[in-house]
Amino acid sequence: MAEPGTSFGQGLKSALTDSLLAGIIAFALFSLVLGLRTVDNVTGLTLRPRPMLLLVAVGIVFFGRLLLNLFVWQAEHPLTTPFAKLFRRDPFDKRDVVVLGATALLAVAGFILAALLDAPAYELIGVAVLVFIGLGLLRRAVVHMFPNLPWGRIFVVGGILFALFFPLTTFGLEKAFHLGLPLRYWFDLAILVLTYVMLGWGLNIVVGLAGLLDLGYVAFYAVGAYTFALLATHFGLGFWLCLPIAGFAAALWGVILGFPVLRLRGDYLAIVTLAFGEIVRIILLNWTEVTNGPNGISSIPKPTFFGLPFAPFAGGTTFSQFFGIKYDPLQGIIFLYYVILALAFLTNLVTLRLRRLPIGRAWEAMREDEIACRSLGINTTITKLTAFATGAMFGGLAGSFFATRQGFISPESFTFIESAIILAIVVLGGMGSQLGVAIAAVVMVGGFEALRHTEGLQSFFGAGFDPALYRMLLFGIAMVGIMVWRPRGIIASRSPSIVLDKTRAVAPELVEQGRA
């Protein structure tokens, strides 16, 4: 808004027109589905009007768009630039400092005001803004001081070390100082995150490396889970014996389902794999004699530590008795954590090694161009089937881990939405990037979980507000939003596994056009 006078007036006019249009469209969208609520009555359905809700929704769209128009989209110096600069390297100018300083001041003022008025929700917002700015400044400072550090590598090593020592350290601290940490919850969440990391890495082989869009990945997860559950409950086999069997069974199914779809490409492949995933779920649901239908399979055994179970007492020696330590239910959970961590690392390791083998090279070549690949003499049938089988195997391993951790499985756990979540993790992480997938899994599952525990939001929207209801809605919005914002994923630069001569930087334009 540096241009004075008339140009601002024109800007305001066009911004107002645009926002008004958006408001009208929002009114058309929401008028019936939001403005009127169907209510069940004894006499049948009736309607309850909700004019306030409609007004608020339309108002948010109108004013939100007006503000964005004025200060971001049509402004000469968008208000968002200083915040974006926090995460870039170019220097601040005076305007940026003013904007950031004013924001920080506002946040502090808001925090104090909220503390005086005893409104924790607004305190939370103030703190979040300050933390955001603080993190950005810290990041800039660190990058400024050490400009040439290999950040990717530091991140990877740091992440691995954290994953390795996190449960033991926190457990030790808790035992030594009795801090009252919610360890059980932390470990459960970490196990969940790692399960999705493993699933993401497994699907990454199919989608990221081989370029085959699989919307039915959850079928292999289900095959693994049910293989282990059925073997364990019918034949009394243990987890460690069943794990390879489950992986093998899933891989077999990968080949069986992969065979018919060899000729399909792109979107068609996606839809057929989706159909296969649904078929598997419907069969699990209706084949009651074997799968127990919707009631699922319960009392699936937990894994043992070289034959030593985690229990206060058992028929034989238990883990705690053998090592002469006091029994603690957390021991079993920590063990589960390390099992899934090992499985996830195995997935990653195998993927990284396979990428250097001819088969991995063939996958990536096929992803880039199938016809060129065929004309170079690569057998695309074998290449596709191995990709399906390898991805499916890891899905199956993760599935049997899921079964043993839950102790109970039913077809409910293997719906399409699960496939969509795993695929979202892979795509949002940046297809083919192992680190990106891990980060996306942490962000997705962590963010998803955070919504479960937001007492702050409740004080914001009233006591009747149940954030769990809005989780999937927000998940969908995030999926669309991130994709539109960064179509190539969070970690956008996928380094090619093989390059001629020397490593070369890939130009962003090429990446955007999908050629790199």
Binding site: L32, L264, D267, A270, I371, A420, V427
Partner: protein
């Protein structure tokens, strides 16, 4: 459901005929939705995964509009249904337009999978938006259109064509006719066919590609709204999840008929409707979706171009 083939062949035939009628009615609904898939795929080459949920939103808008129209005192059913039809088509078209504008247009030049991912995201958004705003429970509606013709009587089995079935088939036929005229006679139809053949070339010859694509989504959504209204009247019960399964079946229909081909979509819809109805009637009803999904796989594998489609040329 009576067991077929118990007595004489006549009852068997009558039962078969009844299923044929039911299948055609169901297939007409699938056909209307399939047109949305086939048009969008033809013009921008993507599977509009959210189209099934647009159909669901259309059904909800129709339900609410119907209740609203009744509550303001219009009790003449044909008039009420006409108003509901227009309102549902208009508002659902706005939904279709918005989905395209928000989720697909920014990714038009992006890599191939990007719009498919946002489409899945949009499908999740629409489902959960309706779940949050209207509740997760099923919404029943008392039968609005009742009665029917006794078509044919054989022993103690009567073949009935209900009025709603007649309405479904008639509406579908009329809409197909109108739609066919739009595609083959109007400037919009020409622009659509031009974009389908070569988007760049079309834009060079003065076709507003963005506008054409938007209108394609608008028309598809309006037809899906009609399908939603008919579905609501036929089954009398909807919930926020109907879009997923119905959407996949309609997509199957579009592929079966040959994606990009409009008569193909209608034909495919009829075939899928018949397969599903006959499967439920003669085999197990639990596995009727498996039948439809297997059909999709078989069709794609053995006739990737469908019944009336053109072969897709692969280029390096």
């Amino acid at each position: 459901m009576p067991e077929p083939g118990e007595g004489e062949a006549g009852v068997f035939m009558a039962y078969f005929l009844q299923q044929l009628i039911n299948g055609i009615a169901l297939g007409s609904i699938y056909g209307l939705i399939a047109i949305g898939y086939t048009m969008v795929y033809g013009i921008i080459g993507m599977i509009n995964f959210a189209h099934g949920d647009i159909f669901m939103v259309g059904a909800f808008i129709a339900l609410i509009a119907f209740l609203a129209v009744l509550s303001i005192g219009i009790t003449m059913i044909p008039l009420a249904l006409l108003i509901v039809l227009v309102v549902a088509m208009l508002l659902t078209a706005v939904w279709g337009w918005t989905v395209e504008r928000v989720a697909y247009r920014p990714l038009r030049e992006s890599f191939r999978l990007a719009p498919l991912i946002t489409a899945i995201g949009m499908s999740i958004v629409l489902q959960n938006f309706i779940q949050v705003s209207q509740g997760a429970r099923v919404k029943p509606l008392q039968p609005v259109i009742t009665g029917g013709f006794e078509f044919f009587k054989q022993g103690d089995f009567t073949v009935i064509i209900s009025n709603i079935q007649i309405l479904i088939v008639a509406t579908t036929l009329v809409l197909m006719g109108v739609f066919w005229l739009i595609i083959s006679r109007t400037a919009l139809g020409r622009a659509q066919r031009a974009c389908e053949q070569d988007r760049l070339m079309a834009s060079l010859s003065g076709v507003d590609v963005d506008r054409t694509i938007s209108l394609t989504f608008v028309i598809g959504a309006a037809l899906a709204a009609v399908a939603g209204l008919l579905y609501l009247l036929y089954y009398g019960v909807i919930d926020f999840y109907i879009g997923f399964i119905v959407g996949i079946k309609a997509f199957t229909a579009a592929v079966f008929g040959g994606i990009g081909s409009l008569p193909g979509a209608m034909l495919g819809g009829l075939v899928i409707g018949l397969i599903e109805t006959f499967w439920s009637a003669y085999f197990t009803i639990e596995y009727k979706d498996v039948a439809a999904f297997s059909m999709l796989a078989i069709v794609l594998i053995f006739f990737p171009t469908g019944l009336l489609g053109r072969p897709e040329v692969e280029k390096v």
